[in-house]
């Protein structure tokens, strides 16, 4: 037997008021947050520090699932290697335990740090490498930031360069630049990736005299970066390596936030129309900016 109840005026009012109040609250929060109102930002930072432990648990708990999904992605991009690795990977992943996951992370970070301290890495004496784990990333399709588990307490500062491990299929080993620290709390830091419109890096094509420019994200393809303002007369070929230029003005007062020579990516195409004085060089980053779990932050560089 069906019974229905006609809504009272009060019920109707509540039903309309609830979303209106919530949307208004969201708008107010956004406004205060963008204008960096101290109370809102502090509250969010405090909450972020408090919840970072939950995020770390979630990150670790989902590691096997993420590994599984990552495995499918690898299979898609490297089908030629699939047959020989498939059985081995499946077996290994089935045996993956929590301890092994921790060991894997530690090994990856140790490898990154060893590489950064090795002679093969550019001179970064002024910097102290600090390993960190990615604990959150927006599920948004346009996401270009990640949150890592090292913040002010670990000596991280806004503007510090951030690197991540390069996949084994790349033709360089070790690590490459992925972005810079854009915001810090006591226990976490937000990394603005190279695909973020707020990030611009002074970069140069290694071994090509005068091929310096500003590296920014491409508006057409988030997986590609554009090295702009490269002198038109310079010679740039696909396959050339792009690294940070680490500029320093003659007075020494203005220096790049990035040390010279950090690997970034490889040139895929160089464009120049007759009307343009400058070349536009398309660069594919060595690190897949959409998928990495560990990073190294170069702290203490005294960025300007």
């Amino acid at each position: 037997m069906s019974r229905t109840r006609t809504p009272t005026a009060r019920t109707r009012l509540v039903r309309r008021l609830v979303p209106a109040v919530l949307i208004a609250a969201a708008l107010l929060l956004v406004t205060f947050s963008i204008r960096a109102q101290a109370e809102v930002v502090t509250a969010q930072d405090t909450a972020a520090d408090t919840t970072s432990a939950i995020q770390q648990v979630a990150q670790r708990a989902t590691q096997p699932v993420r590994d599984l999904i990552g495995w499918f992605g690898d299979v898609r991009s490297a089908q030629t290697e699939r047959d020989s690795l498939l059985a081995e990977n499946a077996t290994l992943r089935a045996e993956l335990s929590r301890a092994e996951v921790g060991q894997q992370d530690a090994d990856e970070l140790r490898g990154l740090l060893n590489y950064i301290k090795s002679p093969a890495f550019p001179e970064t004496d002024a910097y102290m490498p600090r390993a960190a784990r990615v604990v959150a990333r927006s599920p948004s399709l346009t996401s270009s930031t990640v949150v890592v588990d090292a913040g002010e307490n670990a000596g991280v500062q806004v503007g510090d360069p951030v690197l991540a491990g390069v996949s084994a299929t790349a033709d360089i080993g070790g690590a490459a630049l992925i972005g810079k620290i854009s915001r810090i709390t006591s226990g976490t830091a937000t990394v603005a990736l190279l695909s973020n419109a707020d990030v611009a890096v002074g970069a140069t094509v290694a071994g090509r005299r005068g091929a310096d420019g500003i590296l920014q994200p491409s508006a057409a393809d988030p997986s590609v970066l554009v090295l702009g303002f490269v002198r038109g007369s310079s010679i740039v070929q696909p396959g050339d390596r792009v690294v940070t230029s680490g500029f320093l003005d003659p007075t020494g007062r203005l220096a790049s936030a990035y040390p010279r020579g950090l690997p970034i990516g490889v040139v895929s195409e160089a464009r120049q129309s007759d009307a343009n004085t400058y070349k536009s060089v398309l660069v594919v980053p060595w690190v897949d900016l959409g998928s990495f779990a560990n990073v190294v932050i170069l702290t203490g560089g005294g960025t300007s």
């Binding site: 229905t4 969201a26 956004v30 947050s33 599920p139 399709l141 959409g290």
Partner: protein, 197 residues
């Protein structure tokens, strides 16, 4: 999937034409405290799982929108007001965790939760098929709303070709996962009394 759920699928097409907008508030759902608690916990878990999966487990650039699935489940089960509240809470959790401007995600998820609830309240009954159709619309609305907010607040350029491909992937993953999870959530939280009529 149980025989009852399959039967609901069969009724989906009929529901699309036969369900009438009654204009009445359905009888208040018989509130099960355990069910409500489970859905609340599911919302929190969904948000943090989604964030964790987004770290390095994106497929075709997208992850399933787990929060949308739970918000739709709550909106269907408890109505528009609770749908809006679920959207607001999920949005705040997301913004705190990924340190985007506080309220930005809530601005998108709150109206989606509310509209899903209003839509459900106006139906004599909401079959599983209809809930999944609603999830599809809600996910699309979240994707579109999210990109609008991103452009408005962060001033990010959007590569539309890539975005469209990722949006399709995200929609497909969410709907596929919704087909698995919505029946579970409905079973746990119980069916609204209006659906028992």
């Amino acid at each position: 999937m149980s025989a009852a759920e399959l039967h609901e699928f069969d009724e989906f097409e009929d529901d699309l034409f036969e369900d009438e907008e009654t204009g009445e508030t359905p009888r208040a759902a018989r509130t099960s405290p355990v069910g409500a608690l489970v859905l609340g916990l599911a919302l929190i878990i969904a948000v943090y799982l989604e964030i964790a999966l987004a770290i390095d487990a994106r497929v075709l650039g997208a992850v399933p929108d787990l929060a949308a699935i739970v918000i739709v489940a709550i909106a269907v089960r408890f109505g528009a007001s609770w749908g809006a509240i679920a959207g607001f809470v999920a949005g705040l959790l997301l913004d705190v965790a990924v340190q985007t401007p506080l309220g930005a995600s809530a601005l998108v998820l709150t109206p989606v939760g509310w509209i899903a609830g209003v839509w459900a309240e106006r139906r004599r009954r909401v079959s599983l098929g209809m809930a999944i159709a609603m999830l599809m619309v809600a996910t699309l609305a979240i994707i579109v709303g999210d990109v609008i907010v991103t452009i408005a607040i962060e001033g990010q350029d959007v590569a539309w070709g890539t975005f469209a491909a990722r949006a399709l992937a995200g929609l497909a993953f969410t709907v596929l996962l919704g087909i698995l999870l919505l029946p579970l959530l409905r079973r746990v939280a119980g069916v609204p009394e209006r659906d028992r009529a």
